[in-house]
């Protein structure tokens, strides 16, 4: 219910929202949780395992109870904390993990079977009969598990990522964070202040405190006003810092428009990568619940949450509130409620020396031992030291077992927090994250004044580290009460007492884990699932640890803690992966002939990041094979044109360019004549083939290397590695010129005729023989011409500056068509090269060496080169290795397939008998059959042998003959024609 005169919500701005289809009213500034409590809605969820009713437990991102689904369709957002979700006009939220409804949930029957569903029960059963696991047990378990549901529809919201940089990152805007930010910003430091909440101020907004003789809220408001007026300060609200990473990098999730009816182009979330020279963690602390029988009913909350709902939202979570505590701090809850006119049924304090009540009864030396109420709390029972049990009618229990500093970020780099007996909690160990200092409550300083002092001191330290001048600050006076508590983790007694409200882990479960020798804290966690729920144990880990320590007869520090890992709050995959949906995962690379190819109807296929045409369909053709056969015919009989610009091109210049190439290639390049091109083979240092291609010598000290499309990047990196790391003595410079040139293969008997129609100076076989290269002028544009062939035909590659690529491609193809040829795509290119036994990365697939592909003679014995020594290892020259062969069918066969295996005709097709495998297959119009390349053990000695090619997957068995990999024009006369 609303409490008049309290809260920061704007009562002049009412908003309607839906929960489980029922319409309610809240106000601007409400969270879904505060608005539901204002409407007396207590039960909002079901727990994970026992499907017990769950209510709102806290008021922050660590919420252990109130997880809901917001929105519908592709916008459906599961597992949203009602305590974080701000309401907006038209918000629609649903409860989760229940069927058919929140009130009546079939699987709540699990609760009755609880004796059989204790920790790890599933490791001991469901094993018989074997086949039932996948068919019966697992599907049932999966359906009853899980919490919220994804819609199954592709994301339809905008997400984004961004980078930010600062001198000082302050995480949290409670008193310590604000003080730190003020001190640093006044000194001129570049400050980013991140606050999870929609408003700054942290606990100042949830308490009635005084700072500098004014209310804490007012002091905070003034501080924020000052900070927001400064150019060197960036204030980021609704931003959770999610992780600390190396060298001052922090991840942060900003919820940009979750609170808006219409995002209007804004991202839903922005994931920030913040680089900070220094950071101050002012993340506060999380109040811990106490385990007692049936402590999980809706209406049972943390005491601080009750105060937050009162002061921040003007909501009393109950009509008759009871406080259960082991410390002084929680008594504020009763004081504040009474002051606001809310009835307090009483304060139950475990301590006999608890403070007296101020308008409410205090039951000293007593413990709450049970609760009652079907879907929400109706009463609590409490027991005095002498065993007497009493009962209070109450609809809200505000409990406090003390506070746990929010140390998480300080542990993200493997640091472990240390136990502080004085506050019965873990506090950060200094220096666990370089450059980050914890202050205030997250550092175990629980009074407001101590928080202000630590915030100021840490900022001064940071300023000193940054070499900035400091300005002495007056730290204002504030509440400085000592923190008094008597440890209490679990109230003894029968029945189930919850530790992890979400995963339904009880005190009994932890004890049973210890009984079964899961005594290490990590074993206990993994066995019971304690702390593995959406809150990652923020509410329960320390208590569970205390129970384990007790059960194993150890102290808490000896028992240790589990590790806190990023993210601090759950982060959507869409935000961390922003920008990648659809094509954004990797850049798209387009050749200059792309548009013209698409206009010709060519299906474009990926070649690494590039797109290349598969084939160019002609009118009347029904299959790609018809097109491919026709295009092969162009090259064999007339002239074909193909864009080869995607191949890497690297300018290699300098006095030592030749020596450099001799070192990276197996064969010699220093001896290559200017104006000539040579095929080169490049190895990795392990002796395996890395890449191949042609390199042309354009001048005395100028070469241009061609790489395969796939290896362009890796080869450039490799060349720089050789130059900088192995041979910095060589005077040679490398620059990629891949993108400068649009380069087209012009191949076929009429290729020279076609070119001579464009070239300003005609070429012939004398002035431009096979493997010649040089500068030419084509239609008035200066370019380069290489007489090289990947088809076995008389062929050239002509290159012009890329701006002319589109125009040249159109000109070449239309002229080729007039000569009985035309454009050809990747399919035809592949057939042409298979007919010639030319290799691609299908053959040099990273496991083959020069010996395997029959090029061992290309490894020059006159010099050292990368990979030479290792290529001579016995295992790489074993004659039984699989060697490149040609494969052709015997008689009529349906097809040959790449990826099939070769067997002796009499052998069965099992691994032990496999002799080799097929790497490339194409239909050769020339031979009228499929032909292929493959690797066969000792294959070069087996030409003529008949074998079986077996493809189990596609049910193909073919009789084949092993042959030389060069099927077509083995003498090579055509390239010289």
């Amino acid at each position: 219910m609303r409490v008049a005169g309290k809260g920061l919500v704007d009562c002049s701005k009412p908003l309607r929202f839906l929960f489980d289809g029922t319409s309610y009213q809240g106000f601007e500034g409400d969270t879904l949780a505060s608005a539901l409590l204002a409407n007396d809605v207590k039960m909002v969820a079901r727990s994970f395992k026992y499907h017990r009713p769950r209510g709102i437990v806290g008021a922050g991102s660590e919420e252990a109870g109130a997880l809901v689904t917001v929105g519908s369709g592709a916008h459906q957002d599961p597992n949203v904390r009602a305590t974080v979700q701000e309401i907006y006009e038209g918000l629609s939220a649903q409860s989760q993990n229940r069927w058919p409804s929140l009130g009546f949930d079939i699987l709540s029957v699990n609760d009755l079977a609880a004796p059989f569903l204790g920790a790890g029960f599933y490791y001991k059963t469901f094993m018989w009969p074997k086949a039932f696991w996948e068919k019966l047990y697992e599907p049932v378990i999966r359906r009853s598990a899980g919490i919220g549901a994804l819609s199954g529809l592709s994301n339809a919201d905008r997400y984004e990522k961004a980078f930010a940089f600062c001198d000082l990152l302050v995480i949290g805007s409670g008193p310590s964070g604000l003080m730190a930010a003020l001190t640093a910003a006044r000194a001129g430091a570049d400050v980013i202040l991140c606050e999870e909440d929609s408003v700054f101020g942290g606990r100042l907004n949830g308490e009635s405190l005084e700072i500098a003789e004014t209310s804490g809220q007012d002091w905070g408001t003034a501080a924020i006003a000052e900070l927001s007026s400064m150019d060197n300060v960036r204030l980021m609200s609704r931003t959770s810092v999610t992780g600390a990473y190396d060298q001052g990098t922090y991840g942060a999730l900003e919820r940009v428009s979750h609170h808006m009816t219409q995002a209007q182009g804004k991202p839903l979330e922005t994931f920030w990568r913040i680089v900070a020279k220094r950071a101050i963690l002012a993340a506060g602390a999380i109040e811990r619940p106490v385990a007692f029988r049936n402590n999980d009913r809706p209406g049972i909350m943390t005491a601080a949450a009750v105060r937050t709902y009162l002061h921040r939202y003007g909501v009393a979570p109950g009509k008759a509130v009871t406080v259960f505590a082991n410390n002084d701090d929680a008594h504020r809850t009763a004081k504040d409620l009474v002051a606001a006119g809310v009835h307090v049924a009483g304060v139950i304090d475990t301590r006999t020396d608890a403070p007296d009540g101020q308008g409410y009864p205090v039951y000293k030396g007593a413990e709450v031992c049970d609760s009652a109420g079907r879907r929400a709390l109706e009463s609590v029972s409490f027991r005095y030291a002498d065993g007497r049990v009493d009962k209070l009618q109450t609809d809200c229990l505000a409990m406090s077992g003390g506070w746990n500093p929010t140390v998480h970020l300080t542990c993200h780099m493997n640091g472990r927090p240390k136990w502080d007996g004085s506050i019965q909690s873990f506090v950060p160990t200094e220096g666990m994250v370089a450059g980050l200092e914890a202050v205030g409550a997250c550092n175990g300083a629980f009074s407001t004044h101590a928080a202000l002092l630590q915030g100021n001191a840490a900022a001064l330290t940071a300023l000193g580290d940054l070499g900035l001048k400091t300005i002495a600050q007056d730290v204002p006076d504030a509440e400085d009460a000592p923190y008094r508590l008597k440890p209490l983790w679990a109230v003894k007694g029968k029945g189930r007492a919850w530790l992890d409200f979400q995963n339904d882990v009880t005190v009994k479960d932890v004890k049973m884990a210890a009984q079964e020798n899961f005594r290490s804290v990590e074993h206990m966690k993994r066995y019971t699932t304690q702390g593995m729920a959406p809150d990652q144990g923020k509410n329960s880990n320390v208590a569970a640890l205390a129970v384990l320590a007790d059960a194993t007869g150890r102290g808490i520090p000896e028992t240790g803690t589990t590790t806190f890992r990023p993210p601090f709050v759950p982060v959507s995959i869409a935000s961390l992966g922003a920008g990648a949906q659809g094509k954004g995962f990797a850049p798209e690379r387009f050749t200059t002939s792309h548009t013209a190819s698409v206009e010709r109807g060519a299906p474009m296929i990926e070649a690494g990041l590039w797109y290349r045409p598969s084939y160019f369909p002609a009118t009347g053709e029904k299959t790609w094979r018809e097109s491919c056969d026709r295009e092969v015919g162009y090259v064999r009989n007339a002239v074909g044109v193909c864009d080869v610009s995607t191949l890497g091109k690297i300018d290699i210049q300098g006095p030592d360019a030749g020596a450099f190439l001799d070192f990276v290639y197996t064969n010699m390049f220093s001896t290559l004549k200017v104006g000539r091109t040579r095929y080169g083979l490049m190895l990795r240092e392990d002796g395996t083939v890395m890449d191949d291609g042609t390199t042309a010598r354009l001048g005395e000290s100028h070469y241009v290397m061609t790489t395969t499309t796939a290896a362009a990047g890796p080869v450039m990196r490799h060349l720089e590695y050789v130059k900088q790391c192995l041979r910095p003595d060589l005077d040679v410079n490398l620059v990629s010129v891949t993108e400068q040139w649009a380069q087209f293969a012009v191949a076929g008997p009429k290729s020279r005729d076609l070119l001579n129609g464009l070239l300003d100076t005609k070429i012939d076989n004398e002035n431009w023989p096979f493997m010649a290269c040089g500068t030419v002028s084509a239609l008035g544009v200066e370019g380069r011409l290489f007489r090289i062939s990947f088809s076995g035909e008389h062929a050239y590659e002509v290159a012009v500056p890329a701006r002319y690529g589109d125009s040249l491609f159109r000109t070449l193809t239309s002229r080729a068509e007039a000569m009985g040829g035309g454009a050809y795509g990747m399919e035809a290119l592949n057939v042409l090269r298979i007919e010639k036994g030319f290799i691609t990365h299908s053959e040099i697939h990273g496991r083959t060496n020069a010996f395997d592909i029959g090029m061992e003679r290309m490894v020059s014995q006159k010099k050292d080169c990368i990979g030479k020594t290792m290529s001579e290892r016995p295992g790489l020259t074993d004659p039984e290795r699989e060697q490149l062969v040609g494969v052709k069918p015997i008689g009529p066969v349906k097809q040959l397939t790449a990826g099939s295996f070769l067997f002796k005709s009499e052998d069965s097709a099992v691994r032990e008998n496999a002799q080799g495998y097929m790497t490339s297959v194409g239909f050769s119009p020339e031979f009228g059959t499929f032909i292929g390349l493959g690797f066969l053990s000792n294959g070069r000695a087996r030409h003529g042998e008949q074998m079986l090619m077996v493809d189990h997957l596609r049910d193909v068995v073919a009789r084949v003959e092993i042959c030389d990999p060069v099927f077509f024009d083995p003498e090579g006369g055509r390239v010289r024609g």
């Binding site: 529809l153 592709s154 990590e522």
Partner: protein, 418 residues
């Protein structure tokens, strides 16, 4: 104590008071026949099979931290036998067969779930490579089915078939592939070994290996010296440090591999999916979390944690492949220490020149599925001094000689190319 549904029922009725320790915590004895260094999945399974297959019970597993605290407790739980190179094929095939009988053998439900694994491919060239893989799997006697685009769509309708950066041409479907509950595997082997008399010694760090005249004498530990006739090093990412205690350098670099789990969700992904173009793989745990991972962070590290660029890359891969997971929220991320070999394949061998010293390492980022066969083979090697038939390819000297390099990825027998 035998576990069964009936036992759960009767214990439940008696207030669950009768459950006993799953394994004994042993104090180190002065001497054992054999010591296994490392109480992870591979070490525990080695001990289990030494006891079960070879009758060796005077043995100890010494573990620096807690049992199962290494990679067996921090992986993406995928179990498969889809390798294609001789050396790997027979080994992983054997391992999968052991998985299929593991629950019965261990009397422990490790939740081995053969939900099927699909490796997607995105070009003709990749299809050919996966066809080779699938045919090799069938040659080996395992199962594989080549799905075309429509076949994949039928099973995984939520993938982005229309706009994804790399078009889905099809997938290699491995029906017997799946997942298992990782921790339970360690605990099940620990219980099985302990029941057979193996001493499991936690919080016991090996600080030295005693060698005299080229023969192993035992180990020095944080809890004193322990003598042993044979010592097996089964310490994954820490192999380099432990081998150094015996004066050996290994062909291993330790790298960090991150993995991620989301908050619990109702069933939405029913298979294990692998997306090679994005180095991304994903499945959904029985609890409902999406469990997924990607590539190495790519720098040598023992920190068990990674950095943002690879996290982002993994999430980006997820978003281009299956944008329906966008609103799943990552709850936790962690890193394992991967013992990377140059060729990406493991080592199970004697340590050359030191009698009685054996090593099982180099599992790269694929050690979980190997746990049963690795232990089986290492136990065989340690008990008989001969390599097991399915693991004889995992020789330590293959890099020096070039004989039998097993490079599944084709990235070369050189470090950091994987």
């Amino acid at each position: 104590m035998r576990f069964s549904g009936l036992k759960v029922l009767t214990e439940g009725l008696r207030g669950n008071k009768g459950w006993q320790a799953h394994w004994r915590d042993a104090q180190p004895k002065a001497e054992y026949d054999m010591i296994i260094i490392g109480g992870g999945g591979h070490g525990l399974s080695t001990a289990y099979y030494l006891a079960k297959n070879h009758g060796m019970t005077n043995i100890a597993v010494v573990e620096k931290g807690y049992l199962g605290g290494g990679n067996v407790g921090r992986n993406t739980t995928i179990v498969r036998a889809n390798y294609f190179l001789p050396g790997n094929s027979e080994f992983y095939s054997h391992s999968l067969k052991l998985w299929e009988g593991l629950e019965e053998d261990l009397n422990y439900n490790v939740m081995h779930s053969q939900r099927g694994l699909i490796n997607l491919f995105h070009s003709d060239g990749q299809r050919d490579a996966f066809a080779r893989r699938g045919n090799a799997m069938i040659n080996q006697g395992d199962d594989a089915i080549l799905l075309d685009r429509e076949g994949v769509r039928k099973k995984l309708p939520y993938l982005d078939f229309d706009n994804g950066r790399f078009p889905i041409y099809g997938g290699l479907y491995h029906p017997r592939g799946g997942t298992a509950r990782h921790d339970a595997v360690a605990w099940g082997y620990a219980r099985g070994a302990s029941d057979r008399g193996v001493d499991l010694i936690q919080n016991c760090e090996v600080t030295g290996i005693d060698i005299e005249g080229g023969v192993v004498q035992g180990v020095q530990t944080s809890r004193g010296p322990i003598r042993a006739k044979k010592v097996g090093i089964v310490v994954a990412g820490r192999s380099g440090q432990v081998a150094a205690m015996a004066g050996r350098r290994l062909p291993i670099e330790s790298h960090v591999l991150q993995a991620f789990v989301t908050e619990g969700l109702k069933p939405v992904i029913d298979h294990v999916i692998s997306f090679g173009m994005g180095h991304f793989y994903i499945s959904q745990s029985d609890k409902g979390g999406l469990v997924f991972g990607g590539d190495l962070d790519f720098y040598a590290s023992y920190a068990s944690r990674g950095n943002l660029p690879m996290k982002e890359h993994v999430m980006e891969a997820g978003m281009t492949l299956m944008p329906m997971i966008g609103k799943a929220k990552v709850l936790r991320s962690w890193g394992g220490i991967m013992d990377m070999t140059p060729d990406g394949s493991p080592i199970i061998d004697k340590m050359d020149g030191i009698d009685g010293l054996y090593i099982d390492c180099g599992w790269n980022y694929g050690g979980f599925k190997a746990v049963p066969a690795s232990g089986w083979s290492m136990a065989h090697l340690m008990a008989t001094d001969t390599p097991h038939e399915v693991a004889k390819g995992f020789r330590l000297d293959r890099f020096r000689t070039g004989v039998g390099i097993i490079d599944e990825e084709g990235t070369g027998s050189q470090h950091n190319l994987h």
